[in-house]
Subunit: 331 residues, 4 copies
């Protein structure tokens, strides 16, 4: 795997270390090559004796390559690997849009647009069969995962106004990464709520892009807020209109065969963090004709590294839940 | 004042203790009469040597009576006081609706509906002159305060769809009161977000009721979430449509003479807690035609006891900000 | 198992649900018999479909009985089970002292003192072989586990004054249990530190009792403080004197074969919570002749349910770490 | 004042803004000269319209100069000011030791050692009269303030072993400053406890230095731990021996005329933060012959900027508590 010093990389290393089907893996780091992985991730002390390696594309010899590099860096490093036939799971946004225009408007011009058509959006609940067969998975963004899972069962619902969906998202600080800055300084985040990119966050077009494949009416209005804890995303989603039938039943039916999506009465951060589960609660206000769904995930697991492992399991023919059945905690 | 053991009562005692125009006050408590106030509110140790008294209506002799009793208890105790000519500031919901029907649908049947017409809704930024003259102030709910202040400047705006306003509210735990229960147990709230009364919270009709006096189209869709800190409310408010002119300018104009409402770039919990300020930030997404306002207050101060003092200042002819200019803290 | 609605009981249920050698288990509850276990522990939603049962001693048919009842209740329920030959792991304090006098002074008079001599103190790092053979394990207290593990390697060290050990302990709120009270109300614990039982906490004699078996000089001075997070205990232990040799080396040697004790550079809460590990860091101040050890555990896992599973594994001949190798998280 | 962008500087600006005897002040910043102060400290939005100025020693014209620069930078800038007769309150460690050797061993060699003898250690509870007369106050360290206040009443107590005092300190993150780094990143501090400088912290010699003036036996053993909240220091102090008389009474007598030291039953962070108070609780364990005192302050107020204002009040002949009587909050 590429880029193991960040929080997503660390989580992937934790999951790979404990995965029963994985014999060995290597993790690279530009800044920490040669250092013990457990110096960067002290949760692994005494459990993993490996060091970060220097990345050399020619030396890659793995069933799957995970890439945890930042947006823009990722595509440059991955292009030769993909072209030489490696199977790749990229956790950046670089391959999430088959339309280069959307990528360009939200990130930058793309280094290898010809590869965009090959990538599969790595949400198993939507593209399970495609993931099994592809050699390039674009792992979804954390906010996008929670939102898309919470909206999928409504894509064919009549009576709802999908053109004015409000997604009010709250995220723990680990979603902003391991690199320190003033915004993330603990004295600035403790006992606080900080909306940021109130309009124009880049996961908004990602959600629109994926869901409009299913229903061209979809338009989400996304606002994220930084919340004072480390892990977890909660999205409260407001949809106007009058659904036909019992909406909770629609969710239960849609997800009845999914092992990581739970339709619940209360979707709280505490019930999903440290696990790969997504909990979704559904409410309907008859008087106001408003449907509300609340969706929670662990941003680093179902929102990043856990979903990447889920995709790896599919690509390599393992049981989809292998290495991912960690039960969340109470309290 | 009546009912001094809760968090709102304690905050009122703190503000009265420090208020430069207040010579003396008495605080009653049914359960703690005779005990030191500072045993219930240890922040006051060595600063206030008073004890809670037993409440006797006949003995009330005060320029203003504050009532911090719960809904339903409040009106029963206040009825004789109001009728005997005392000036009263009630912090419960009992006198917030002039229409008894709304109260009945959301709380209970009213004990003294004939008094409803006399009460003034105690939001100085809206009813300053009425508050000066009345003898019965219904102090607004905490969520309602933050929402109404954030929406007031839009009531005459054209181009906005006021029929589908989404108010996504987050509150610290002190809003739920001092009485312990499982939902508020610290192990259940730490590092967590817990939506509750996702539809049907009783502050929704309060906001609708007050704002529809200004614009009959208004209909808010309110969802609160319990957040892991003690003080503060943040409301992210989503309004669809295309406002005429610069919306931030509209807010600045509307509030240019208000001492407790600040129109800011970023409205964070940390910048208002421990003070009577309300911070409002305004954003507009041209692409999606969505206006977003973020409104923050300290739920126990501007959302309860501080606003009650602000109302007292108006009623007694003091400077409106007297005893309330505590600057918030950083960090 | 007996008593499954509390936090320790819930943690035990989580561990049993995921344990690869456990085919089935039953959990009783006096107050919630007949209800879904996952209604009390919503982390288990969709993962465990069982209900709490009513406890009947005659119906007990299990390889091991876990008891999560409170002190005093535990011994009364367990006496007939033990006498009829069941193997029991008791998580209360009722069987931790072979000397009835210590129990009486700190808890109450004992209901079945004749059984005290049969119980083994369930700290595998000290009594592994005895645990394998016994039918009654007294699972250690959470604070005692962290303290004893941090002091064991010093019991034969010369040069230290073991008569004046200071154990300054900090605990998350889950150690105080699931039952709500004012002290644990989230508004009272957030952003706070609250020392309690500053002198005379009942884990002090437990630590003294166990360690004085190894060195009669030992006398610990214990003070706990409630800290603002859910899980984790950290104990900073100050010992005066001049140790012979490198003290960190002594710890590494002592624990080199233990799978759950890690001798580390920094012992932080975050590196052990959600796991069965105990992290110990060792420092020596030459100038002041003071040795400091910092010991961290998850109070509900290594400090309670995880250690109980560790004991069960020993009693039933499973690998000691079976079902307990969950890697902690970063961040 | 010099250096206004950090947390201590910001707190001083907040206190000066609200101080009834202060007509005007200026705040300098090397990095932010010309910018609005309220851009760095958004709590001051709409309340303070000033900008940071560039510092020029020749232009200083103030009754008192506060210096919030870091250790080592402070003395260099202050030397010419002091020599030209300005009255100075320095919040760094540069003038806290009259013995240059201690400064050198713990910080660096001193730039103007001849000035060390002129400085008064700015703890009003100990050096009130000296502070009134001096033109150079060395404002105490935050940890030192809490520890010295908690130990002062014991300096003449017989029966206690003052050579082995353990000071186990816990501090919120604001004590580590506003400059971001990995150790302070919110994902690394939330729900965590991180001991640091377990031996050898520089406030240890400061406490020893001041207290040994009163009793040459004193030797403290100091260990600090970073705790997951923004403001507040709590020190649990363990002293062996048998005090003569009631120790709590000794504290009450010692502090009976002090307005900012409160002898209380429970010394909790929550009861002092956002105020200039120091709360001290006293416990004695007869069985173990251990005295425990728990001391709490707000590290940025009584531990820094508030104490500096208290010193200014003394130097300028104002009432000592002027501008500092903000009551703490509950909850």
């Amino acid at each position: 795997m590429l880029g193991g010093t960040g929080y997503t990389g660390g989580e992937l290393i934790r999951l790979l270390t404990a995965h029963p089907e994985i014999d060995s893996f290597k993790a690279s780091s530009r800044s920490k090559a040669g250092e013990l992985i457990s110096d960067s991730h002290p949760n692994l002390k005494c459990l993993l004796d490996q060091r970060f390696i220097e990345y050399e594309s020619s030396a890659v010899d793995a069933d799957v390559v995970f890439c945890c590099l930042p947006h823009k860096a990722s595509m440059k490093v991955l292009e030769p690997l993909i072209e030489s036939g490696h199977r790749v799971i990229d956790l950046s946004a670089d391959f999430r849009f088959e339309d280069e225009k959307i990528y360009r408007e939200n990130y930058a011009s793309h280094a290898c647009p010809m590869l965009l058509g090959e990538a599969v959006y790595g949400l198993p609940e939507l593209y399970r069969e495609e993931i099994r067969k592809t050699s390039l998975v674009a792992n979804p963004g954390c906010y996008a995962t929670a939102a898309i899972l919470a909206l999928l069962p409504l894509m064919k619902q009549r009576g709802l106004d999908l053109t004015r969906i409000v997604v009010d998202a709250k995220s723990g600080t680990s979603g902003a990464g391991a690199k320190p800055n003033v915004f993330l300084n603990s004295s600035e985040t403790a006992a606080n709520l900080k909306p940021y990119k109130v309009t124009g966050h880049r996961h908004q077009p990602e959600i629109d892009h994926i869901l409009s494949r299913l229903n061209p009416d979809v338009s989400v209005n996304f606002t994220p807020t930084l919340a004072p804890f480390t892990r977890g995303i909660q999205e409260t989603i407001h949809i106007f209109g009058e659904p036909i039938g019992d909406p909770r039943k629609a969710y239960e039916d849609h997800y009845k065969n999914e092992c990581f999506v739970r339709v619940v009465s209360d979707s709280f951060i505490s019930n999903v963090v440290h696990s790969n589960f997504c909990d979704i609660a559904v409410f309907y206000d008859e008087g106001k004709r408003r449907l509300v769904t609340v969706s929670c995930i662990d941003n680093l697991i179902k929102g990043a590294a856990g979903q990447a492992i889920q995709n790896m399991n599919l690509m390599l023919g393992f049981k989809e839940s292998k290495g991912l059945m960690q039960i969340p905690y109470h309290p």
